[in-house]
Amino acid sequence: MHLKGTLVEEDVIDVVLAGNPNVGKTAVFNALTGLHQKTGNWPGVTIEKKEGVFSCGSTKARAVDLPGIYGLNAFSLDERISRDYLVSSRPDLVLSIIDSTNLQRNLYLTLELIEMGVNVVVVLNMQDELEAQGISIDTEGMTRTLGSPVLLISALKRTGIQELKSEIIKNGKEGLPKTERKFHDQRIEEALRKIESLISLSEMGDKLNARWLSIKLIERDPEYRLILEKASAGIKSAVDQIISDLEKSVGDASVAIAQERYRSIQEIDANFVKKNTGRIDLTDRLDRVLTNKWLGIPIFFFLMWLTFQVTFAIGNFFLEQIEAGFEWLSESATALLLGNVPEIVVSLVSDGIIGGVGSVMVFVPNIFFLFLMIGILESSGYMSRAAFVMDRLMHKIGLHGKSFIPMIIGFGCTVPAIMATRTLESRKDRIITMLVSPFMSCSARLPIYLTFAAVFFSRRQGTVVFSIYVIGIVAAITMARIFKSTILKGETSPFVLELPPYRPPAMRETLRFAGTKSLMFLKRAGTVIFVVVIVIWALATFPAGVEYGSQESYAGMIGSTIAPLMSPMGFNNWESGVAVLMGGLAKEVVVGTYETLIGDGNLELTLREYFTPLSAYAFMLFTLLYMPCVAVFGAIWKEAGAKWALFTVVYTTLFAFFVASIVFQIGSLFLG
């Protein structure tokens, strides 16, 4: 055990939360620790382990929330993180979190954990749903059969949490009584016993539970087979002989072991679960419509369109109020400072800080409503359906529906989208998804679209912005197809995706999710954007003596160098050159750059002077598609390496230039 900070090692109980995807592990983690990690009704929300500390009385415990796994056979990167942690960390206690409405599938992992020889407490989550479905579970009977305490809780409704904490402290300190539970038939048990005795003669079982290692060897797990390879030739051949003899009697031993686990699970289900079979399945009805072959994709796009309509309709009301507040603040600050401090300071405060930062902060309501809508879609269980219906289209480009989940996450922020590619099994699929994820327009780009759409397309703002998002999806799919057939050739990897039941959106969690994202946006406005607008203000002010924001300023010189390159796209003003350059740091900065450079001028009038509706649309397309921000660059570097990170910057910028130029040039032919 180890823990950062002041806690003494021996005082802290190490608890690991393990379970299938989408059983509410993170909700249990949040309920235990009081933290607010993101939850959602779709598999793959947690892609990295998370840690938190909680206490019960005078005892402290450290909880680790692991990505969801179906079994202890590592398959994708997120599953490997979980299994390696469970095997190597030797926690005091493992909480096997189970969706109590779906015991049969969830218990498979629990049996594996028990066979692993770790102290397991079985947590049957979603008690509220269980009761709503009229199902009851005999937890005492299950406790006797499994040899591990079984508790019924609802993390969402916060019921049973105190009892769970007490159970953690009790069993974490004292440990569970050592009883070996056997879930297999006589022939397998006999083979296991023989292999265990061979393991005890060697050094193989020093770090691992001998029974667990025996099971894995019979299952022919390649990673555990490597351990056997290191043993003496005699032990190796004896183990192989035992497995071969077993297979003569039971057939494929790995199949037999899995079947025996399921036989035990069916017995538990039959003995301890009372079901109400008369319930009408709402999920079934909804799926008939939402995943329909013809309606599925149009419904997906309709929901995306609705998201942006809500973002505009409600968000813009608040935006106008905040905008008026910043205008008042700027005027008040100017009036207060003028005459009392040098004019350059007045300009810094009014044009730089209030103008630049304020121009970005006014979009917080829109960001909030965007994430609220995304949160509702995630929380309801629709996210997996989006991947399901898009699979057909994704298959045509050589990927599969699962690749679409990171892309949808990219609508919020591209960094977690890059991280979410860890759920993909094939490395080539991961890299392709990473390369195209920046095309899914993140929330930081929304202020750019909102500003330009308000000025140039005031009557059809929602539709214009929606079209930008759709072009982003089309661009991602097109580039993925090109990569799959050229530099990243490979077979489509097969995949299984769980479709969780539809649930009413957890509004408290969803509001918190939208609030947290909005606060993060505000934080960036107060830090990164604040610094960048001061730099831009300085570039627009100096060298000394030049007019603020003129072409003679440093900003003007930099922008003028870049501007000619942008002529084919229909905008060659130097301010856009600076804005595009600064947008490489953070996309939120683009609008702030315009506001800062223009100073106390009218942004709308200036934009109308520099852009036509066509060139404004080309500019929006360029900012949608060109190089991702520094944070995304770093994430791709970390996940795929420097080569792919640099490649992303180059190819996205060239692609953006190509698309925006084509749109402007062809559009000019028709619009003059």
Binding site: Q104, V255, A258, P494
Partner: protein, 102 residues
């Protein structure tokens, strides 16, 4: 399995899914298990009911799983035409290129 359009079927062999078989087993797609095909892979992804879990299976994966029908309602797309999605209620008319039963 990719040719099954609807109905219950018993999984016979998943050994052709070499890399995925341990995962398939842990989600309940195990030899001798009876699964309910809600939607066949001819219409995109296959949708299965495994116990109480709703699972989406890619066509590529479904085509590697060997099954046999487990109830008389099983219907399937005629071999070699998996990608031509059948229309309407299967078995009502010959032109739908599907037949019911086994």
């Amino acid at each position: 399995m990719s040719s099954i359009r609807k109905g219950q079927c018993k999984i016979v062999d998943i050994s052709r899914c070499e890399a995925q078989k341990s995962k398939l087993r842990s989600v309940g797609l195990i030899e001798n298990a009876v699964v309910d095909v809600i939607r066949g892979s001819a219409e995109g992804m296959m949708m299965l009911l495994v116990g109480k879990s709703r699972m989406g299976l890619s066509h590529f994966l479904a085509s590697k799983i060997l099954v046999e029908p487990a109830d008389e309602r099983v219907c399937f797309v005629i071999g070699g035409e998996e990608n031509n999605a059948p229309k309407g209620h299967v078995g009502r008319r010959r032109r739908y290129r599907c037949r019911t039963g086994w």
